[in-house]
């Protein structure tokens, strides 16, 4: 029946409302902050390309790939904005099953470093479906919890949301991708909290993760993942293995000082002291080359973006919109905090990308989808009452 109800609205948007009303509901600030962060990501791709000795516009360089993905992300963002987000509610189970299927496909035919399976080759590009899974799970959970808004003081919707998360989470862990699995947990936690779920049950659930973590440590985590966590807890034990990156990235960040060494002048990056500078450690290059001021600008942009997402969530009259915003804000906050925390040495190395700035098409496109949905929610609210 829900399908029938959604159907007329699609046409109604165009016919019944003026373009002006849509424009007023559209959150231009959100788009602006996202675009600025995307631009900084492109700048970092440029500097990394230069430091890798590539002529930036050639095929296959970090920069040219980033340009391509940015273009695609913009198209995706606009498309999703225009698209009526309510279809997501309608199609949630199809989305869910497709998502699990893609993660299974990744396990079956994916490639990765050292025997892992994370990327799937799609023609000329590789794609990480676990990035997409984050957004899909936000949509599915938003639809699921939105339907149960009135019953959130009981245990069952919380348990149900948790169970929904189990299959994709297990598949991601099997890749193995510790970072994404942590992001999925953060999304679940953030959405449950923001949904208004009973704090009593949430705290009970959080406490239950302690034995779960012990079991996970014993049976699920691979040796190298354990080693990373241990080396973080005791940096002296392995000053050259896992901790090498952490130490080098702190040197990079620290040497940036207040104003930075200037773009393309990051000695740490050029000397390859940062082994994966264009991916998870890109913030170290940013902090070295743009300094404290540059990093602060990035923080402010992220904070502003989260603020706008929370505002969209608050304004939404549809609980789906509220919950979707909560999930998206949780995702961005968690990823920024864990990634930057890792780079500046207050959190262990987990391989979580920095939204917009870590070069990776899947991450950028997924964020674009999420922001597109958020705008789609925005422009489909009739009145701004507050």
């Amino acid at each position: 029946m829900r399908v029938m109800r959604a159907e007329p609205s699609r046409f109604a948007d165009v016919t019944a409302r003026s373009v002006g009303a849509v424009w007023r509901a559209y959150d231009l600030q959100l788009t602006t902050y996202a675009a600025l962060l995307g631009a900084i990501g492109l700048v970092m791709a440029y500097t990394n390309s230069v430091e890798a000795g590539q002529s930036v516009l050639e095929n296959g360089t970090v920069f040219s790939r980033a340009l391509m993905w940015s273009g695609l992300a913009m198209v995706v963002f606009i498309t999703v904005t225009v698209f009526d987000y309510r279809w997501l509610k309608t199609l949630r189970w199809l989305l869910y099953v497709t998502n699990v299927g893609l993660l299974l496909l990744t396990l079956a035919i994916g490639d990765g470093v050292g025997g892992s399976a994370r990327w799937v080759q799609l023609g000329p590009v590789t794609f990480q479906f676990s990035e997409l899974a984050k957004i899909v799970m936000i949509s599915v959970l938003a639809a699921y919890l939105g339907d149960r808004e009135s019953r959130l003081d009981s245990l069952w919707p919380i348990l149900g949301a948790g169970l929904l998360m189990v299959p994709p989470w297990v598949l991601v862990m099997m890749q193995p991708d510790l970072g994404t699995s942590l992001v999925l947990i953060a999304i679940l936690a953030g959405m449950l909290f923001m949904s208004g779920a009973s704090l009593k049950w949430l705290i009970a659930g959080a406490l239950a993760t302690v034995p779960a973590a012990l079991i996970g440590w014993t049976y699920v985590l691979r040796d190298y993942q354990k080693e990373r966590i241990l080396s973080f807890l005791n940096p002296v034990a392995d000053s050259q293995g896992s901790n090498w990156q952490v130490l080098q990235s702190q040197i990079a960040v620290g040497s940036g000082g207040l104003l930075g060494t200037g773009l393309t002048n990051g000695s740490q990056g050029r000397g390859e002291f940062l082994p994966v500078q264009e991916s998870d450690f890109v913030f170290a290059v940013l902090a070295q080359e743009l300094g404290f001021i540059g990093a602060l600008v990035v923080f402010l942009l992220f904070a502003a973006l989260i603020w706008r997402i929370l505002m969209s969530a608050w304004r939404s009259r549809d609980p789906f919109g509220t919950l979707f915003g909560a999930g998206l804000a949780s995702l961005i906050l968690f990823q920024v905090f864990v990634n930057v925390g890792m780079v500046i040495g207050i959190l262990p190395v987990t391989g979580i990308p920095l939204p917009f700035i870590t070069h990776g098409g899947a991450s950028l496109v997924s964020i674009a989808i999420g922001l597109g949905v958020m705008q789609s929610v925005n422009i489909r609210q009739h009145r701004a009452e507050w």
Binding site: R5, P8, G114, E149, S150, G190, F193, M194, G196, D223, Y224, E227, D238, Q240, G241, S242, W244, Q248, Q250, I251, A252, G254, S255, G256, G257, L258, S267, Q268, R270, G271, E272, F273, P275, A287, G291, F292, A295, L296, F299, F302, A303, I306, W307, L310, A313, W314, R317, D318, P319, T322, A326, A329, L333, V336, F337, V340, G341, I344, G345, H382
Partner: protein, 633 residues
């Protein structure tokens, strides 16, 4: 109508408290990140900037080309050639990828992954020092490894020089070889600028003259990346000084003659081990030094495989041992020089004193047999030494006693290393009462003194000691330290260290005594004890020896080694052995030679024939048949 799809519950509870909490958490998260960033970048920015700079530039050693080695005629015996080596810096190899990388690298290089890991784990340096896991890698392989750098973290391919010995086995025991430095040596030599992946002389003159050959490493400031790859040299702080070159006393031609003669004799007599040495008794210069079986030192220079090394180690003829200096054997009758010299100098006999020789002497109930069961009758020194009469020297040794005999042995240099410039020299044993008290808690028995007089029993000597003793006889009593290196020449061609004979001692012995012994040595040849050496145009004086060792066979016979040590005058075609002008003394040693004739004498003869370009073939092949125990002593 519109309200119908605005949402199911327009008056939703939006839970402002939770939004507020989320906002506060967000602000706190960014606040935490910002404060840490401020700590790193503002409070400690300068310190980190310094570290980043230090990271980038490292002081690196400039290796010095190793000195070359020439023979006495200026022929090049070793060269430095460029070769590819594969190294791993453990610090750059993540622990979790160790096995993976070792397996892949092993596959490319054709070596065992476990060998690579063992090499890394047993490397002497720190985790930051590169470890050489393969040397002398083919260029194509090196290129493949180089191009696979992304999949092989910590692995680098470098061009370095290695030693190449064009003559290989011919000079292996003299030149030795270089190999990777081990932990003990590194600890000792680190203050002198040795690196964890340095090569160091491990045997032969490569080892003894390591300090001269190595040169002095320089220092340079290099910009490098995290993989240890050098980006560019920023500044040379100190230039490297190439190593000094050695000119050996060895003449490669003589070495070849000696090797050919020894090989011929060993093949003809079916021997497994042998030594040939030639030296100049006037100076102590070694002209040729052959120990067979030998090995190819290029195997070591290229980085010997474990299986090749085990094969060499397990070979029971011990090819890695230089039997001329690193092993000692009973000298047999050649040792009668000691008893003879002592008897004359201690005035127990004169050259013309005639002693009755018999088939055996009796001490208590024990018979001490002569090799000649009929004896030679009344015998003077020439007869006793020339025919190598055992009963003659039993009596002389008995007159001297154990301690005087030992005194004269030590005068000739036995019982202590000669000091030749090769590592691992054995010292041999000179039995005396004191020695036996220390070793076995008893003084020497009379019968043991008899045995000592003819070079049996407790006495053991190195071939080098024996030839050096005869060199002292030939030159009139000056015992020189045998030397292998004539000159050390600096990289600019100036002689750093010229050759000087190194006198160990002037023997406490009269010229008359030595002249008598030289003439007795000549009688060894003229009495035809040594078969047809007498027929040669070259006039030789010397002494053969047969030394029993080991355990008796079914017929009660002992296996034996045979020796010949002799010399020729300055004019080798004149037999004037009253003079002390000999410039060539030579020694042949045939280990476990069960031959009809004295294999060592035949080997010496073959050498003389080659060395003096004698056209006529004097090699009496019939005498070199194995399986017969009767021989000349």
């Amino acid at each position: 109508m519109i309200d119908a799809y605005l949402g199911p519950k327009p008056q939703r509870d939006r839970r402002p408290l939770r939004f507020l909490t989320f906002g506060i958490v967000t602000i706190m998260a960014f606040g935490l990140l910002t404060s840490r960033l401020a700590y790193l970048q503002i409070a400690n920015g300068a310190a980190y900037a310094e570290r980043a700079e230090a990271n980038r530039t490292v002081e690196q050693a400039i290796t010095a080309p190793r000195g070359l080695i020439y023979d006495s005629k200026g022929r090049l015996l070793v060269t430095n050639v460029a070769s590819f080596a594969v190294k791993i810096t453990p610090a750059n190899l993540p622990f979790s990828e160790r096995e993976d990388v070792a397996r892949r690298l092993g596959g490319l290089l054709g070596i065992d992954a476990s060998d690579i890991l063992t090499t890394i784990d047993s490397a002497p340096g720190s985790r930051f020092d590169p470890v050489r896991v393969a040397q002398d890698v083919a260029e194509t392989t090196a290129r493949v490894v180089s191009e696979s750098a992304a999949e092989l973290p910590g692995v680098t391919v470098v061009v370095e020089t290695r030693r190449e010995y064009p003559d290989g086995p011919l000079l292996a025991h003299i030149l030795g070889y270089t190999g990777a430095i081990d932990g003990g040596a590194l600890e000792r030599l680190k203050p002198s600028g040795y690196l964890a992946d340095d090569m160091i002389g491990k045997a032969g003159v490569e080892a003894t003259f390591e300090a001269s050959l190595r040169g002095t490493y320089g220092r340079q400031l290099v910009e490098r990346d995290a993989t240890g790859k050098d980006v560019q040299v920023l500044q040379v702080l100190e230039q490297a000084v190439p190593g000094a070159s050695l000119t050996l006393t060895i003449d490669r031609t003589v070495q070849r003659e000696a090797t050919a003669a020894l090989k011929w004799g060993m093949k003809a007599a079916g021997l497994k081990r042998g030594v040939f040495i030639a030296m100049n008794p006037q100076t102590g210069e070694i002209l040729a030094l052959v120990s067979l079986p030998t090995y190819n030192n290029n195997l070591f220079a290229k980085g010997i495989s474990n299986s090749d090394f085990q094969k060499l180690l397990n070979n029971k003829e011990k090819p890695l041992t230089n039997h001329a200096v690193q092993a000692h054997y009973p000298p047999g009758s050649t040792y009668k020089l000691v008893a003879g010299t002592g008897g004359l100098q201690d005035k127990k006999i004169t050259p013309s004193t005639r002693l009755r020789t018999r088939g055996y002497l009796t001490l208590g109930s024990t018979r001490f047999y002569d090799w000649n069961r009929r004896g030679f009758g009344l015998c003077d020194l020439n007869c006793g030494f020339g025919h190598s009469s055992d009963t003659y020297f039993f009596q002389v040794a008995g007159m001297l006693g154990a301690d005087r005999l030992a005194f004269w042995a030590r005068q000739y240099g036995f019982g202590q290393p000669t000091g030749i410039d090769l590592p691992g020299e054995a010292s041999g044993i000179v039995p005396s009462n004191q020695w036996k008290m220390n070793a076995l808690g008893q003084p020497m028995f009379a019968g043991e003194v008899y045995q000592a007089g003819i070079g049996q029993g407790y006495d053991v000597v190195t071939p080098m000691q024996l030839i050096n003793a005869y060199a002292a006889l030939a030159n009139g009593g000056r015992l020189y330290r045998p030397q292998l290196v004539k000159e050390i020449v600096g990289p600019d061609g100036t002689v750093i260290q010229p050759f000087e004979p190194d006198l160990i001692r002037k023997m406490k012995v009269s010229q008359g005594t030595l002249r008598a012994m030289r003439l007795a040595g000549r009688s060894t040849v003229t009495l035809r004890h040594t078969y047809n050496l007498v027929d040669m145009p070259v006039k030789v004086a010397g002494k053969s020896g047969t030394a029993e060792f080991g355990t008796r066979d079914k017929k009660g016979r002992l296996p034996f080694h045979s020796w010949f040590v002799g010399f020729v005058g300055k004019n080798p075609y004149k037999a004037n052995f009253a003079k002390t002008d000999s410039e060539l003394v030579f020694l042949a040693f045939a280990y476990d030679s069960r031959t009809k004739g004295n294999a060592a004498t035949e080997i010496a003869k073959a050498f003389l024939q080659l060395h003096f370009h004698i056209k006529k073939d004097y090699l009496n092949r019939d005498l070199l048949k194995r399986g017969n125990f009767y021989q000349s002593n």
